[in-house]
């Protein structure tokens, strides 16, 4: 499969649009885990590093390729570890309906719909 310039631009355009739409609906409460989560997603660069390293022919290339895989693997593994830890902490006080209501209230700026305490 070869991807020439124009196909690449189509792919980039659609991916950029998807990224923009996905982040647009994120509540502020998730901003830190999300920054960390998107940080994890670009850790996929490790597969590019693996491809380059497996095709290395000189010592210099092997050295740089090793660094590429080392850093890429660090990005992916570390990004996953911290994101998973942060997200595991989010929990609600009540039943499923309570926090859905809370988030609807937030998104509509309506005080009337805020959940009652207790």
């Amino acid at each position: 499969m070869t991807i020439d310039g124009f196909v690449a631009i189509y792919i980039f355009m659609l991916a950029a649009f998807a990224g923009w739409v996905i982040i647009g609906r994120v509540p502020a409460i998730l901003h830190t885990p999300l920054m960390s989560g998107s940080n994890f997603v670009h850790g996929v660069v490790v597969i590019g590093g693996l491809y380059a390293l497996l095709n290395a022919t000189t010592v210099l290339e092997q050295g740089i390729g090793f660094v590429a895989v080392l850093l890429g693997a660090g990005n992916a593994a570390g990004g996953y570890a911290v994101t998973d830890r942060m997200l595991a902490m989010f929990q609600t006080s009540g039943h499923q309906g309570a926090h859905v209501a809370a988030h609807e209230a937030r998104s509509h700026h309506s005080k009337a719909k805020q959940p009652k305490k207790g």
């Binding site: 509540p27 390729g65 902490m89 989010f90």
Partner: protein, 483 residues
């Protein structure tokens, strides 16, 4: 056929991986589905790494003899890089999250830069498009690597003072232009076939050296309070670099994931800058926190200290309390005690809510994570725009470890460095208690008139110790009533 099969598998896995990464990020955008979102993306990543080893069936003839060593190197790099990062990521304190994201992000930028370097040194990129994209990805990746490391050093406290030299912006511009010139020269030499003024390898090293120098110089003058925006910019930059190198390597999964993060990162950066009421260029090119020139207006009133126990009891008998937590709370590890106190208040029938400023903590949303870590349910947590109107009918506001986010001079003092930043209207409440370590200034180094207001009392002390005293006082009331 035998050589086609690995390729077919890799291509198929790539499509699945691209889908899983997008789907995972999409699920991460709601608190209900977020924990499963990261797992979905994780499965995608693991599949991608395993499938990548199928590349070994299709390596070029020149690389065949080196294959055993290359495979060994790949396995060692995966185990060491992945293992170390995983271990640190599992162990690190929640308060250190922003600098961890910075360092992981720098690693991704470095990996993208290294891939570009291999293409350049191996002379594999040909033609203006290929070479241009490779160099652009290399430039962005290298800047992201060195810039993220400086951001990490600043947040970690290794670098204390922002470096501000006269004319630094001109030096930055010169370094940037020089880097671009070297890049264009590399393309020119490759295209025209003419002999370069110095060996190609030296030119490539020079290009990377200058790009990294630019990242360092760019980040050094930026103050600590602005670091979250900077990390977010570098996060987007790394995404772009990965996407561009994906094009060079003809790997659609990299292109999609990289550009997805690039766009998402840019939007996140804009949202954060908006929350601080500053433009992105303002963050990058002006000297925030440089308050020496600014004359602070005369402050009316005085600081009125009060005992922690008295403040605690006052809240026990209030009907509504809003808590404004800041980084100082997390620094003192006081979240657990705070939530214990909140549970006492709720049990006594007080309406308690948390108000979170968009830039509370060292990163947007970090305070939400820290409170979640202490067990605070997220339906008690409210963001600025949803709760700001409620301060006026609230009995007591407890400001704990926060300062600049409740500074009224952002509203009315045009000379203040934070003028125009949206703040939590804590000063509108009937009574405000501020828990603070001492009389010092906030992270941005600005005096806060709220602390001197008539309706404000100061509770000095370590946040954790103060909360312990408040809990003791309120429990004491209960014991007295029972007796």
């Amino acid at each position: 056929m035998l050589t086609m099969l690995p390729h077919l598998i890799i291509d198929t896995v790539s499509i699945v991986v691209a889908f899983l990464l997008m789907f995972g990020l999409w699920r991460m955008s709601s608190p209900v589905t977020a924990p499963s979102g990261i797992k979905v993306a994780g499965i995608g990543m693991a599949a991608a790494v395993v499938a990548s080893f199928l590349y070994l069936f299709n390596v070029s003839a020149a690389a065949k003899p080196h294959l055993p060593i290359n495979i060994a190197l790949a396995l060692i790099a995966l185990a060491v890089g992945g293992g170390l990062s995983w271990w640190v990521g599992r162990k690190v304190a929640m308060t250190a999250m922003p600098q961890m994201v910075a360092i992981y992000n720098g690693m991704g930028g470095g990996a993208a830069g290294a891939i570009a370097a291999m293409e350049l040194f191996g002379n594999r990129a040909h033609g203006i498009t290929q070479l241009g994209v490779t160099l652009l990805g290399a430039l962005i990746g290298a800047v992201s690597l060195s810039g993220s490391l400086i951001a990490w050093a600043k947040l970690q406290g290794v670098l204390k003072k922002p470096l501000r030299v006269r004319g630094l912006q001109i030096i930055n511009a010169v370094v940037m232009l020089f880097t671009l010139a070297v890049g264009l020269y590399i393309i020119f030499v490759e295209q025209s076939g003419s002999a370069p003024v110095m060996p190609m390898q030296v030119l490539i090293w020079l290009f990377f050296g200058c790009a990294m120098l630019f990242g360092i110089l760019m980040t050094l003058p930026i103050g600590g309070a602005d670091m979250p925006v900077v990390i977010s910019i570098y996060n987007a930059a790394t995404g772009l670099a990965v996407g561009l190198e994906g094009f060079v390597l003809q790997t659609p999964a990299l292109m999609i994931a990289g550009m997805l993060v690039g766009a998402a990162g840019i939007l996140l950066t804009l949202l954060m800058a908006k929350a601080m009421n500053r433009s992105v260029s303002n963050v990058l090119f002006t000297k925030f926190g440089d308050v020496s020139k600014h004359k602070q207006g005369a402050i009316k009133g005085s600081l009125k200290p009060t005992a922690a126990g008295d403040a605690g009891i006052a809240m026990r008998y209030a009907s509504s309390v809003i808590i404004v937590p800041g980084y100082g709370l997390a620094a003192a590890q006081g979240q657990q005690k705070l939530y214990e106190f909140v549970k006492l208040l709720i049990a006594a029938g007080v309406k308690v809510r948390f108000a979170i400023h968009p830039v509370a903590g060292r990163m947007p949303g970090q305070m939400d994570v820290l409170l979640a870590d202490a067990g605070v349910p997220y339906d008690l947590i409210f963001q600025l725009e949803d709760i700001n109107a409620d301060f006026a009918d609230t009995d007591i506001v407890l400001v704990i470890g926060a300062n600049d986010v409740v500074n009224p001079s952002a509203r009315d003092d045009k000379g203040s460095p934070i003028y125009g930043m949206p703040i939590l209207n804590a000063d509108k409440a009937k009574q405000v208690y501020v828990v603070k370590r001492g009389e010092g200034k906030g992270y941005a180094g600005i005096v806060n008139p709220l602390f001197y207001a008539d309706n404000c009392n100061m509770v000095y002390g370590d946040a954790q110790a103060v909360m312990a005293k408040m809990i003791e006082a309120v429990r004491g009331l209960g014991a007295a009533a029972a007796a």
